[in-house]
């Protein structure tokens, strides 16, 4: 029974895999905390901006969204796919890509589809599916901050204004908590008219400078940039969360496997010892006889 050696080798290999997955889990946990902090840090800015925008537009004509709000016949759709550069994070990247394919099937059949990918994984997947990926931003995750994302958002807005795209949608994983993410689809352009908060009765009597319309026009690009930034931050936090969960499960599985292998190994070892004893006893008995 040559099983012993093979089992020993498998034990070594599984336990080193287990070491790697558990290290990756630790790393993701640390990165997750940082990504979560970034989400928390941008929240005051985003919520205040939204509040001001709602406040201002509650009294201004809702149709007054300017060039970014113009609804027109949709010929070209730009899909912004936010994924990650690395795998080993469960269904994280596949979910984004699947949601995109579904949306194309259901809503954009026959339209000209272009893809702007943030993160390598969905870019690779969608290219294989024959979609035209016009831009890929893989390096934003190296040092993620607002200034890295703002130019991308500006580029998209410019493309919308000059008619290159008629509709822009973002697909990303929204961060709920470390263990769960949901893939969401958000309309980016044209901007949906800001929701008038229902409790607009409490509105203070503000002085507006220069004028409400101009403030709205100034704020919309800012809020668009913030929206994209939020998606990327959420996606990054989700990625680490997803990887942490995936690696946790992998570590658990490896532990379970090690247990089984050790059992097999010990059984084989005992069997071989028993055999040896039997042989010795048999040999001794033959000599005496």
């Amino acid at each position: 029974m040559g099983g012993l050696k093979e089992v020993r080798e498998r034990i070594t290999s599984v336990s080193s895999t287990r070491q790697i997955t558990s290290a990756m889990k630790m790393v993701s946990a640390a990165k997750l905390r940082r990504a979560q902090d970034a989400v928390t840090r941008m929240r005051p800015y985003a919520s205040k901006l939204k509040e001001i925008l709602e406040n201002v537009s509650s009294t201004v004509d809702a149709s007054d969204g300017g060039v970014y709000a113009s609804e027109r016949e949709v010929k070209t759709v730009l899909i912004v796919a936010v994924s990650s550069n690395r795998g080993l994070c469960g269904g994280f990247n596949a979910n984004v890509s699947k949601a995109i394919l579904k949306a194309i099937d259901e809503d954009f059949a026959g339209k000209d589809i272009k893809v702007l990918a943030i993160g390598k994984k969905s870019a690779e997947f969608l290219t294989r599916r024959g979609l035209e990926v016009i831009e890929t931003h893989n390096d934003v995750f190296d040092a993620l901050n607002f200034e890295v994302i703002a130019p991308i958002a500006e580029g998209i807005m410019k493309g919308f204004v000059d008619g290159t795209y008629d509709r822009v949608e973002i697909f990303y994983n929204e961060f709920i908590n470390a263990a769960s993410q949901t893939t969401v689809r958000e309309q980016f352009l044209p901007v949906a008219p800001p929701q008038h908060s229902s409790d607009s009765k409490r509105t203070t009597d503000y002085i507006f400078e220069p004028s409400k319309t101009e403030i709205v026009l100034d704020l919309i690009p800012r809020s668009l940039k913030t929206q994209l930034y939020k998606s990327v931050l959420d996606s990054l936090a989700s990625e680490h969360g997803a990887r942490m969960t995936a690696m946790h499960k992998a570590t658990d599985n490896a532990t379970e496997m090690l247990k089984q292998l050790k059992l097999t190994y010990n059984k084989a070892r005992q069997a071989s010892i028993t055999n040896e004893i039997l042989e010795i006893v048999g040999g001794a008995a033959a000599l005496e006889g």
């Binding site: 941008m42 005051p44 901050n145 607002f146 002085i207």
Partner: protein
């Protein structure tokens, strides 16, 4: 009055202040205690905050928006240099 200066990445300043000077779209303007409620866009320039303890803090912003309401000044700046 309370002053906050926030960017998408970080809260740059938070504290009590006596006076804030802002680069409004229609020109520089100052905010003192009990200023009327105002929302104004800001252009690139300096935000000067005279803190309650007399310290002067200066921030170079690239533009943004400010809301003043019931003695609370919130400056949303896209970037602080």
């Amino acid at each position: 009055m309370k002053v906050e200066i926030v960017t998408p990445d970080v809260k740059v300043f938070e504290g009590q202040a006596r006076h804030v000077q802002l680069p409004g779209a229609k020109g520089l303007f100052g905010v003192l205690e009990n200023h009327a409620s105002i929302i104004s866009t800001l252009i690139a320039g300096k935000v000067k905050v005279e803190a309650a303890d007399g310290d002067l803090h200066i921030f170079n912003i690239t533009g943004g928006v400010v809301e003043v309401n019931s003695n609370k000044v919130i400056v949303l700046a896209e970037k602080v240099l």
